[in-house]
Subunit: 467 residues, 2 copies
């Protein structure tokens, strides 16, 4: 199932920094991968999609599998080309690579007719050169420094390539020098965090929460991402939930070298080498009922140093996110494009990219059903992935949105559309069916015991956390 | 998972003749359903897709889930519109319905901005009128009659709406009167067949097989479909595998009333009311090893009258297809667009459309992995569906294609790409995880016992046929 492949490509690209290659088959094969390509596009992951098409001379026959592949590819691709012959295929491939590795990185889709695969070619094309991230002009740095030197409420808002260790350290120096707040985007493609690393505020989800956290802010400096926008529109709330009086200055766009720009800004502010970091927590393992809170605390307490956390826990992983700020240093991957079913495939790609590191997939039961086939790939490749399915047996976010839309008395039919209990999904059976050992936990103690065991196991293990 | 929804819509539309309505969420939600919408488009099923988009005033913010929905919709839709306001929504919906129910039926996609759902509207629009199938001019009928009166090799090639009972009976009368052969398309959206009904040749799959079956044919009359084309291109074989000397006459296009045209043609040939039908077989239940052949015979022997067979068995159901010509009368649904993962969802829609009839999904293990979430829907809706997973634990068709491409010595990596044995999928576990009771069969006797039991059971049952 292609969504596993495209999601894995995204995860591989995020963790390796290298371009990832998929292989897709005609329009339907691409379409099956579009959901996770959408997330890869929002993550600015360098992913190259060769998509096999009918032979050029067979297109006119309009055979059953024929369709307009380019039209399917464009919404998720920063670069699309239909190759015309075997002769141009090598240079087309080099161009796809250059497009994917440009700044910002992007999804590049190369449509390849069948005959281009069997006709004679002229050998390899020269390796392409990549467009480097753009350097930021000194005038932008000094304007941002001036804004952050003011007495007013100031926020440095960071995302994208600013969230690597270099950018985070520079942001922490800026905070130390200027006293500004630092807030990071809510859904980073990749964030380094944990004890001993700089710890920053995470932007909240709903627009009224964003408005509240930014209340009174008069200057916002943005690096590595765009200014915050609301995930969805709500009547009476703004698209861009930034206070009206707030001036927004772009330090570094998506195409810029955000880490270098932040270092320049820190220097311009006269920042020293020291900065605050998050403390290590002394976690007490909880007991009693397993719920989103106790589950989050157990994961934060037990995750090993260097873990890669793929968080698609949706409404179930909010507590985890707060607790794990003080866990050993780790890498956080999140759902960048909002398209459900990224978690398990992205974990596959991360594990392939980082064989020495433990990958933990915090997965929601609703969203995991989009791409559960990834479990088979985990078994097939013997990947060291610990899957935690947060089984609340509901599409909880939709229940929240119903309530937000003022629909407080939900009829039985609407209720049934957000209910995953008729019948309950049995994740232990599903995992075993794919060749992944699994067990279920109902109490915090059971969950901790299982998780400790799973984190030591070679290969994948799935825990169904009945929260 | 939206592919279950769109595939079910296709199955519902095929069995009811009524338009089916999906409900999809932004670009990724549509994209997840594109694979089975591709099959629905090739089946000419009337399917209407309302796709929710961001509020019109929120599009400019380019929020994470925003993408070009129309570009994703066009390749699978015969009609696409982006609604602009609540005021136009009712008439837009009526237009979508008229487009879907036009001739030929089509997939219609209506993109609906969020604000059009909460703004005031002006009440319902008038019910639209539908474009009827076109009547065929008398001159076309007489030209076709003239061609079929010749002494030469003649074929009547039928598909689409010609495959209902009216069209089939007319085709059988034409055969009786003219002595022509009648061949039907290989992947019909819906075909009525079995003992007591006219039985016709099925077009084979590979182009050289088609060339062989059409060798010496000098006249081909086509009704309800297009002339045969090769599914894929192969070096040295034609796109359209019809003998050069063969004249091709179109009696009825996809937009025409093919059944009426066939009746006119039968009358023009002076055909009587009598025609040959397929005989009922006295099946002997096989014993011993379970393989594609014995499995096919057992299904053909045990399927009840009026069964709806959704055949996505790929390479595993060829024997079944031959044997079941003499089973009790039944309806056959096939994979019209070649996009894998149609079988289980389409069976869901067929069962919803035909509560009194037994649905049998002949499913291949590779393709069923594309949309196995349909099993949960079968359990949730207590649908009387008997799922037979033909578990050959391989992507056999790809192994065939490798051999056809002259690659006879397959290396271990290429071999592993068509191999489903590392680890074996455990379909019994997978089904139980979704709430569907299941069992596995290794011998023909076990399979027959299980199938007889499953066909009597209320609600879904899955049999893993280890062939």
């Amino acid at each position: 199932f292609e969504s596993v492949c495209t999601g894995a490509a995204d995860g591989y690209a995020r963790m390796s920094g290298q371009p990832a290659l998929t292989l897709l088959h005609l329009g339907p094969g691409l379409a099956n991968g579009v959901s996770n390509l959408h997330n890869a596009r929002r993550a600015h992951s360098p992913v190259i999609n060769p998509v096999g098409d009918q032979a050029s001379w067979h297109l006119a026959a309009d055979a059953p599998l024929t369709s307009d592949i380019a039209s399917l590819a464009r919404p998720v691709s920063g670069w699309v080309r239909s190759s015309t012959s075997a002769a141009s295929l090598a240079s087309d491939g080099a161009d796809a690579l250059a497009a994917a590795m440009g700044s910002p990185h992007r999804v590049a889709t190369l449509i390849i007719p069948h005959d281009a695969q069997w006709d004679e070619c002229e050998g390899p094309a020269p390796a392409p050169s990549y467009e480097d991230p753009h350097s930021v002009e000194a005038s932008r740095v000094s304007a941002c420094a001036e804004a952050l030197r003011k007495e007013s409420e100031r926020v440095l808002y960071i995302g994208g390539s600013a969230l690597g260790l270099r950018g985070l350290r520079a942001a922490a120096r800026i905070r130390a020098a200027s006293g500004c707040r630092v807030v990071h985007e809510i859904f980073p493609a990749r964030l380094e965090r944990g004890a001993g690393l700089p710890g920053f505020e995470r932007l909240p989800y709903f627009p009224e929460q964003i408005m509240q956290t930014l209340e009174g802010v008069q200057s916002m400096v943005v690096a590595g991402t765009r200014p915050p926008v609301s995930f969805f529109a709500y009547q009476g709330l703004p698209s861009v939930p930034i206070p009206e009086q707030c001036e927004v200055l772009e330090l570094a766009s998506l195409a810029d070298d955000a880490a270098a720009a932040l270092e320049s800004l820190a220097d311009a502010l006269g920042a020293g080498a020291d900065f605050d970091t998050a403390a290590a927590a002394e976690f007490q393992l909880p007991s009693g009922a397993l719920n989103a809170d106790s589950m989050g605390m157990v994961v934060a307490a037990l995750q090993p140093e260097g873990a890669v956390i793929m968080d698609e826990g949706a409404t179930s992983s909010l507590s985890y996110s707060a607790y794990s700020q003080n866990s050993p240093p780790h890498t956080l991957l999140t759902l960048t494009g909002g398209s459900l079913g990224q978690g398990l495939p992205c974990a596959v790609g991360a594990a392939l990219a980082c064989p020495g590191r433990r990958v933990i997939a915090l997965a929601a039961d609703g969203s995991s059903m989009y791409s559960l086939q990834a479990l088979w790939t985990m078994a097939r490749e013997s990947l060291d992935i610990t899957v935690i399915v947060c089984a609340n047996r509901a599409y909880r976010i939709l229940q929240y949105e119903l309530a937000r839309a003022g629909i407080v008395e939900v009829g039985p039919r609407a209720q049934s559309l957000t209910d995953l209990t008729r019948p309950n999904l049995q994740w232990v059976n599903l995992a075993q069916g794919m060749g992944v050992p699994a067990a279920s936990a109902q109490s915090a103690e059971d969950f901790a015991t299982l998780l400790a065991r799973a984190l030591e196991a070679d290969g994948p293990f799935l825990i169904e956390a009945l929260i």
